[in-house]
Amino acid sequence: MRFKMRSLSFSLAALAVLWTGWAPDAAAAPKGFLETIHRHAMVASTSPGNGDLNPYAIFLVPQDMGVLKKDEVLVTNFNNISNLQGTGTTIIAYSPVTKTSRLFASAPANLAACPGGIGFTTAMTILKSGWVIVGSTPSKDGTTGTKGDGCLLVFDSNGKFTEAWKGPLITGPWGDIASIDNGDTAVLFISMAAAGLPAPDVRDPVTHYPPILHNATVLRFNLHIPPGQAPVLDKQTVIASGFAGRADRDNFLFGPTGLALDTDGTLYVTDGYDEEVTAIDNAVNRTEPVTRQNDAVGRIITKGGLLNWPLAMIWVPGHHLLVANGRNGQVVEIDPDAKKQIYAQWIDSDQAQQPPGNGDLFGLAMTPDNRGFYYVEDDMNTLNVSLP
């Protein structure tokens, strides 16, 4: 009987390999990072005591600072307990040591410096100096119909709110923050996705969907950080404009989200609605914005294919980019030099969504050893990890 059971297990495993239809050649050199990833596990809930939902940004704590410990993971929440988008006010911290999450910081639902309220997005970073900067694109009713312009909020490393930045160019801080952090100075890149978007019930009479606008931008922020004091915003520069934006009843909005800076100063951007990754050259020093031409802002690195509402984007080993798909549960690996998609992997196969994992994935962050990555599952309000 035992022999038969072992035989059955072996047969099923063999059958599974055939059914998957994909098996890497054991003798071939790895084409990329994703094929080294084999384990996926939920590590913690991202919903704090006030019931905030919809985890968005993920950022790893680089060193001990304030109440934060090295390698802890910060996660923002975009929704409140009502599940209304653009109303989340909390950042949780996950400790891989205690394997629990706790509230790190929260903002009042209304701040004078934050037009429209508070709703934390995928824009978050931690500076070496310990300051946490997070973007807010708020709403009153969970739709772009009541959307405010939002702001950038600064917290200290103890989770205490310090100040907020707003201004005419800050129109919905939305996507990942790419940065150069020199300690006493820093350069941040943040996408602004919400300018001019109407309510999701406003339809284009031809398509019957909300109209597509091309108002979204990427801003460069130049900061200096006086010793022991909060960062000072010196300069804001639009370095790219004309990305696609569209309101959406279920997804709040589509807009540029993933930002990843290369060592040569090239900024890669995921343009969600157009389903492409583009490159903004000389992003660090550029004074004039790259504008939309031929349905793209910047050089197209890759378009369509496995990309399916590309959102967050991070660097992975091999100088490749990893992109989270918003409309299915896949992450896509891209070689930006070769301008090609390597492959994708399902990291959320929740069949309750159609397609599986639709609307579940947002933020990404590499694990400290650079061998795996964290991701959030929006449907479960959890932080997950993928490992070799």
């Binding site: 998957t20 009713d141 019957h208 994708a344 399902w346 196969s349 397609p355």
Partner: protein, 456 residues
């Protein structure tokens, strides 16, 4: 099914006065929002409360025993505890659910069809439904064990695409409904037992369970009546053993090549069950005489145990490039047993299509067309012939019954669905005489209905 996700997303707007929950009624996932603070207080203890009312009116303008319309409804309350949030115990879930069935059943009153038109039709009652604890174990939560009072229609032989339809047989199929004692441990009943689900490897799962062989102590009458409160907790009626293999694509960790076509999700299941209860022969009595004979003892020959096999497939056929929420899906389910001597139904099947997001920017709506077929066992058909032979009464041999269903499920708000529904039943109950007009069969039936689902 009650949407626990909706409940978890309940709002706190109700704190703004007694009617504060109405402030955002268009966007709220629950009509009563935070239930005046109750849900958030429960949430602090890791508890989620979901209450859903399904109400419907169905009528048969043509066919059936008689014509008319009935209202029926079901209120289900589910309380679920996440033990990690409640007290730091990783991977545990505790659930208790109650049901309150109200109204009348059109199928029983007017139709006399095997495949009843609504999955919520049941005897009027207020009862405990499920009471179980689920624990996830091993790396990547590969093993999942659930122990307690369980309703098997929740996770066995399920077709996810079929669940949107109203007819009962798109949920718990006809074979176990008709053949198992008391209809089996499925809505509105449940049974004590345990099941384990194990992730063998991507994309294969296996789940196996053992449950009480009957959901009620008394199986000679109506199990719903003999277990009215749902608290019989039957353990002395033999066993029901069941096993199911599931192939799931996409599986967690599955790789996708850029030159592959569109990833179309699919789930295939195969399984079987065995119930050790006694099963009555459909033709012979305990003396070897046909039951229809005037010489029969009237006591059926009994057989020890019965089994059945099944297969279920859900397959996405197409997905729009413009709007990926727009998908076209097919499902099919077949189930049968070779033991036609001891069961009234030896085969049943469902087949149908769902079109999600069928109209522009209606991402949460579903249009569906499907059918069901069931076959009366040959032994029961022979019994019908024997009745005619021995009594001379009009007693045509029962054969197959078929129905089709066309429906549109419309998500009106986050908490309200409306579902107009049309069903047509061919050869009701396989062609039995009309009890009101015993000289002719029940005519084919047209049914129109409107169902609403409200998440409180």
């Amino acid at each position: 099914m009650v949407n626990l996700g909706n409940a978890a997303a309940a709002g706190e707007e109700s704190s703004q006065g007694v009617f504060g929950f109405l402030d955002n009624w268009k966007r709220s996932a629950n009509l009563l929002g935070n239930m005046w603070g109750l849900r958030s207080e429960l949430g602090k203890a890791g508890l989620v409360l979901a209450v859903q009312e399904t109400s419907e009116v169905f009528g048969n303008p043509a066919g059936g025993m008689r014509r008319g319309a009935d209202y029926d409804g079901l209120t289900v309350a589910v309380l679920q505890m996440n033990t990690q949030r409640a007290f730091g115990w990783y991977g545990g879930t505790f659930q208790v659910s109650m049901e309150q069935v109200h109204g009348r059943n059109l199928s029983a009153d007017n139709l006399d069809a095997y495949q009843t038109i609504s999955g919520i039709e049941a005897d009027r009652s207020t009862r405990l439904w499920e009471l179980w604890f689920d624990q996830k174990l091993l790396d990547q939560q590969a093993l999942d064990i659930k122990i307690g009072q369980q309703s098997l229609d929740q996770e066995w032989m399920v077709s996810s695409n079929a669940l949107v339809f109203a007819n009962t047989m798109f949920g718990w199929p006809m074979v176990p409904s008709a053949d198992l004692p008391g209809g089996g441990p499925a809505y509105p009943l449940s049974a004590l037992g345990a099941r384990a689900k194990y992730w063998i490897t991507t994309p294969l799962y296996v789940q196996a369970g053992i449950f009480s062989g009957s959901p009620a102590h008394d199986t000679s009458g109506d199990a719903q009546q003999s277990n009215r409160s749902g608290t019989s907790f039957v353990l002395n009626r033999g066993i029901m053993a069941i096993m199911e293999f599931q192939y799931v694509y996409p599986g967690l960790g599955a790789m996708v090549s850029p030159d592959e076509g569109e990833a179309l999700s699919r789930i295939y299941r195969i399984g079987g069950w065995y119930d050790s209860e006694p099963f009555a022969d459909q033709y012979w009595d305990n003396t070897g005489t046909p039951l229809a004979s005037p010489d029969s003892s009237g006591i059926a020959l009994t057989h020890r145990g019965a089994f059945s096999f099944y297969a279920v497939a859900d397959q996405m056929l197409w997905r729009s490039h413009v709007d990926p929420n727009r998908t076209f899906n097919v499902f099919g389910r077949v189930m049968g047993t070779p033991q036609a001597d001891r069961v009234p139904i030896d085969f049943s099947m469902n087949f149908g299509f769902t079109f999600k997001d069928p109209l522009p920017y209606r991402q949460d709506d579903t249009l569906g067309l499907a059918m069901g077929y069931t076959h009366v066992s040959s032994a029961l058909g022979n019994y019908d012939r024997a009745v005619h032979k021995y009594s001379g009464a009009y007693s045509p041999a029962q054969g197959g019954e078929t129905y089709i269903e066309l429906m549109y499920q419309c998500q009106m708000t986050g908490w309200l669905q409306l579902q107009p529904d049309f069903q047509y039943i061919f050869n009701p109950s396989g062609g039995v005489p009309n009890p009101l007009h015993p000289e002719r069969r029940i005519g084919n039936i047209a049914v129109l209905g409107l169902r609403s689902n409200i998440a409180f």
